[in-house]
């Protein structure tokens, strides 16, 4: 199953969610944000090399803590050389090796995002509680639905007690279950060392939120939602 982590607006925590979701699903995280990569990266070949046909995607996957990541070289030459549509065969190849592939989408609503959403079985939307992020996430939802990719879950990041009150409204508007990420310190600690939260703060309460999203995706997988639509 291929899960796209999208949201429209940059800096809302898509990479954090993608990395931690890949960890909870025991899958592979793929950084599809070719021009502003955020997932932790190693020294080996990355997605740009895979897309250029120089490296097999399986060989480019590297361990990041207890999970695995196909990261993205962060060079302008690489961003120019890479064509996102060529990402799809690589992602499908990874899916055959590993049950779950979690793809970290670029920001925006251009064709690179559309390509990933179209290839995915399910979308997880990430947003912060502010209006502009919610609007962008909603547009991303509309695009995902136009591309016939259902939205499995919405992650409301950087929530406060105030914003938890809007959860019901977000759930009604997006018509998908909302999971709130309220605890920032353990996410920040893990992000600083470029690892999933489970590796750094195994008792963090925020892990329950990532687990909940992972279980939602597994439930969709079992009930066939999003599967067989391509």
């Amino acid at each position: 199953m291929i899960v796209a982590v999208a949201g429209g607006k940059g800096g809302v925590g898509k990479s954090t969610v993608a990395l931690n979701l890949a960890r909870e699903l025991e899958g592979v995280a793929v950084d599809a944000d070719l021009s502003t990569a955020d997932l932790p990266q190693g020294d080996g070949p990355g997605l740009h090399e895979v897309l250029a046909g120089r490296v097999d995607p399986i060989d480019a996957v590297e361990p990041v803590g207890s999970t695995r990541v196909l990261s993205c070289g962060r060079t302008l030459a690489g961003a120019r050389a890479a064509d996102v549509s060529e990402l799809i065969p690589a992602v499908r190849r990874l899916e055959r090796e590993s049950d779950h592939v979690v793809v970290d989408c670029p920001a925006g609503l251009a064709r690179d995002v559309g390509t990933v959403l179209h290839c995915a079985d399910l979308t997880v939307l990430v947003t912060t509680p502010d209006r502009s992020a919610l609007t962008d996430a909603f547009r991303t939802r509309e695009l995902a639905l136009d591309l016939e990719t259902p939205v499995a879950a919405v992650v409301l990041n950087r929530s406060s007690a105030e914003s938890e009150r809007i959860t019901d409204r977000v759930e009604a508007t997006f018509q998908a279950p909302v999971t709130v990420l309220a605890e920032r310190s353990s996410i920040e600690d893990a992000r600083r060392v470029g690892k999933p939260v489970r590796d750094v703060r195994p008792k963090a309460t925020v892990l329950e939120a990532f687990e909940r999203v992972a279980r939602t995706i597994e439930r969709c997988d079992r009930s066939g939602i999003g599967v067989g639509r391509r």
Binding site: L76, P106, R111, E142, L147
Partner: protein, 123 residues
């Protein structure tokens, strides 16, 4: 989202309500509006006929993504701050839905962002 702007003008015992409905979503929307004002809704007449958008005191029309449409009606009731309410906004089921490939083809090309161009190693 669907955005609604209205203005009212009261003259000779009649309130004229004018409005614009904007579709800021990425898909076309079938939008239904109704008056919040207590009292009869008098739709406009064009050549003596009521426009097709008006039925049972409600305005209903399709608004393309990123576009807006105007509407108006009259009523004998005194105006209020929000004379019109959005009843529903949904995708029209008119069989014109694009296949995913057409949706994809209609999206803008992406380009490396300024962030990539300026500082390729930070981020």
């Amino acid at each position: 989202m669907v955005e609604l702007e209205t203005e009212t003008d009261r003259r000779d015992g009649v309130t004229l309500v004018r409005g614009l409905v904007t579709n800021t979503r990425t898909t076309r929307q079938l939008i239904r509006l109704s008056s919040r004002l207590d009292g009869p809704t008098w739709p406009p007449r064009r050549d003596g006929a009521r426009p097709a958008e008006w039925t049972d005191g409600c305005w209903e029309g399709v608004v393309e993504p990123g576009r807006r449409r105007g509407f108006g009606f009259a009523t004998p009731t005194e105006p209020t701050a929000e004379p019109v309410k959005l009843v529903t906004a949904r995708r029209p089921d008119d069989g014109e839905r694009q296949v995913p490939e057409a949706v994809l083809a209609g999206l803008e090309d992406h380009a490396p962002s300024r962030r990539t161009v300026g500082t390729p190693t930070d981020g």
